[in-house]
């Protein structure tokens, strides 16, 4: 009898002991593979564009040979370069302006009770949730109503309009993570509102401001729908250039531009995250 029990148990315990590590690590490999596949899916069309920017053939079908011709062509394609310059300029300006307005507004929401605070507080969620197309046409309608000529300025204004709420929510989440006592202490010691903001609040909310600014910059570079409606017939930004050329065929210099832009923006992100990490570690050091 005892023998029987043993023989009954043995294979089970053996199985558990032998199976566990092997199965676990196999499972881990599969899980990692899944994560890599999802990332590959997200990068696939970009990598294809980058690869074909070095392709000799004009058609993005098969790789016939390495060339840098499209990069040369790019610097002769004035319409494309202008579109690129406008897109980048709008992204930088709308990021700067929306970050400033968003940051001071987040401070205002926390520090003060003001006329219509609750209502304004609700309104700023609207650009985050409404369909972009509704935001786009409503801005187009109001620009027309006020007889503002559609062009670079209206696209910039539209980008500022959809970016501000994202900056406010990002800054606000850091703002509420520390106690008001610190600011009150500064004021008790004789600092003016401006001094408190400059020397106490601002350094503390810097990570929230940076992530809000990165979000605003990314949203601006990515936007198609709102730019489409806010732009006039003569405005030339990257999505509009592509949209008007996509039916007739896009030349590989667009691929070359995409590649260059990707390199520049990734570098910019890398530098800003280094700054963010530095401020964080400095604060932890103190």
């Amino acid at each position: 009898m005892p023998n029987l029990i043993l023989s009954k148990y043995e294979p089970v315990s053996k199985m558990v002991v032998t199976k566990k590590p092997g199965a676990r690590s196999q499972e881990q490999v599969l899980k990692t593979l899944f994560i890599i596949l999802v990332l590959a899916f997200l990068f696939l069309p970009i990598l294809i564009l980058v690869a074909f920017s070095f392709n000799e053939s004009q058609m993005n079908i098969i790789f016939t040979g390495f060339t840098l011709d499209w990069y040369k062509n790019l610097f002769e394609n004035r319409a494309l370069l202008e579109a690129f310059r406008n897109t980048l300029l709008i992204a930088v300006l709308s990021t700067l302006i929306s970050t400033v307005i968003g940051t001071i507004s987040a401070v205002g929401f926390k520090k003060y009770n003001f006329f219509g605070e609750k209502f304004v507080g609700k309104l700023i969620y609207i650009p985050i949730v409404i369909p972009e197309i509704v935001m786009g046409i409503s801005l187009l309608a109001i620009f027309t109503f006020f007889k503002i000529e559609l062009g670079f300025f209206t696209v910039l204004l539209a980008h500022i309009a959809f970016s501000i709420p994202f900056v406010i929510t990002s800054v606000r989440s850091t703002l509420y993570s520390f106690s008001e006592n610190i600011e009150e202490a500064a004021e008790d010691l004789g600092a003016t509102n401006f001094e408190t903001f400059r020397y106490v609040t601002l350094p503390m909310i810097k990570p929230g401001i940076i992530s809000g600014a990165i979000l605003a910059f990314t949203l601006s570079l990515d936007d198609v729908v709102i730019s489409y409606f806010a732009a006039g017939p003569g405005t030339n930004t990257l999505p509009l250039y592509i949209y008007s050329n996509i039916k007739t065929g896009i030349t590989p210099d667009v691929n070359a531009l995409t590649t260059l832009m990707l390199v520049v923006t990734i570098l910019a992100l890398f530098i800003s995250s280094k700054i963010e990490a530095q401020t964080l570690s400095r604060r932890q050091g103190k």
Binding site: N60, V120, V134, S138, L219
Partner: protein, 285 residues
């Protein structure tokens, strides 16, 4: 005593009041008014009050576009959920450093304009594109598949463009689930599926709803994806509104369609708040 005017208060409150009035409230109120006006067929409108534009939406051709849009939107949302959950749960096991890096990588594609990325999909999906020629040369298929200019192409494009908006909130919710709950469930004999449905899902529901909102709402409006990858065969509400404003020049009908979309959105947001969602976390925050 006279109320003291605090310049710092003016600086931190006046801009946001002006901004939210002129660039959020006024445009939407104006669209709301236009939706009751009458189109003069020349791109303008007459000031009047009628529900004609709203009744016109019940035209079978428009209802069909609504049905197609909702089908595409729901399918896209479902596929994104089915990718984002395992992705987030698997990512939880990695070191914090790896997790941060991978979440940053999920955002990187946004630095390339979504129209350019959609154009990249043409290269992949068309008849003689990368996918078809790879499958042909591997001998998996004999003749090229129709991967675009149909609903399939549109859904691929939507899933691709909107997936990060699902991954960010779902990951954020999944990473906050207390390991102790999962261990307790496992000790009590719950298998993987049971742990998912009884622990992960209830605790991450607001995150999943947040992601679903951020995927479904754009998916019925992104006219450029259905334009490019659907080839005009798959019309969604976004195309319809765009056409009313730019081609058919019937602003009142376009405005009425936008108001319907807006009411739908507000309904979904209310529902999100009801199940315990936080407005500040919308949009991946």
């Amino acid at each position: 005593m006279k109320p003291r005017l605090d310049p710092f208060k003016l600086l931190t409150t006046i801009p946001v009041i002006i901004y939210s009035f002129f660039l959020i409230l006024l445009p939407l109120v104006y669209i709301f008014f236009i939706s009751f006006f009458k189109s003069d067929n020349y791109g303008g409108f007459e000031i009047s009050f009628s529900l004609k534009n709203y009744l016109e939406i019940f035209n079978p051709a428009y209802l069909k576009i609504f049905a197609v849009s909702i089908f595409i939107g729901l399918t896209t949302t479902l596929i994104c959920l089915l990718i984002a959950y395992p992705f987030s749960i698997f990512l939880r096991d990695k070191s914090q450093k790896t997790q941060n890096l991978i979440i940053k990588l999920v955002m990187v594609p946004f630095l390339t304009n979504s129209l350019i990325r959609t154009y990249g999909w043409i290269t992949l999906l068309r008849k003689n594109g990368v996918v078809n020629s790879s499958l042909l040369s591997l001998g998996i298929i004999d003749s090229p598949l129709n991967l675009m200019y149909n609903n399939f192409g549109v859904i691929v494009g939507m899933v691709y463009t909107l997936l990060p908006f699902m991954i960010l909130p779902v990951y954020s919710a999944v990473s906050k689930v207390d390991q102790n709950y999962l261990d307790a469930a496992e000790d009590l004999g719950a298998g993987k599926l049971r742990r998912f449905f009884r622990v992960y899902l209830p605790l991450t529901l607001p995150g999943a709803f947040n992601g679903s909102l951020m995927v479904f709402i754009p998916a019925i409006g992104f006219f450029f994806i259905s334009d490019i990858l659907g080839g005009g065969k798959a019309m969604i509400i976004g195309n319809l509104i765009k056409n009313q404003f730019l081609t058919a020049r019937n602003w009142p009908l376009g405005a009425a369609l936008s108001i319907v979309l807006l009411v739908m959105t507000f309904g979904l947001v209310k529902l999100y708040e009801k199940i315990g969602g936080n407005l500040d976390e919308l949009g991946g925050g």
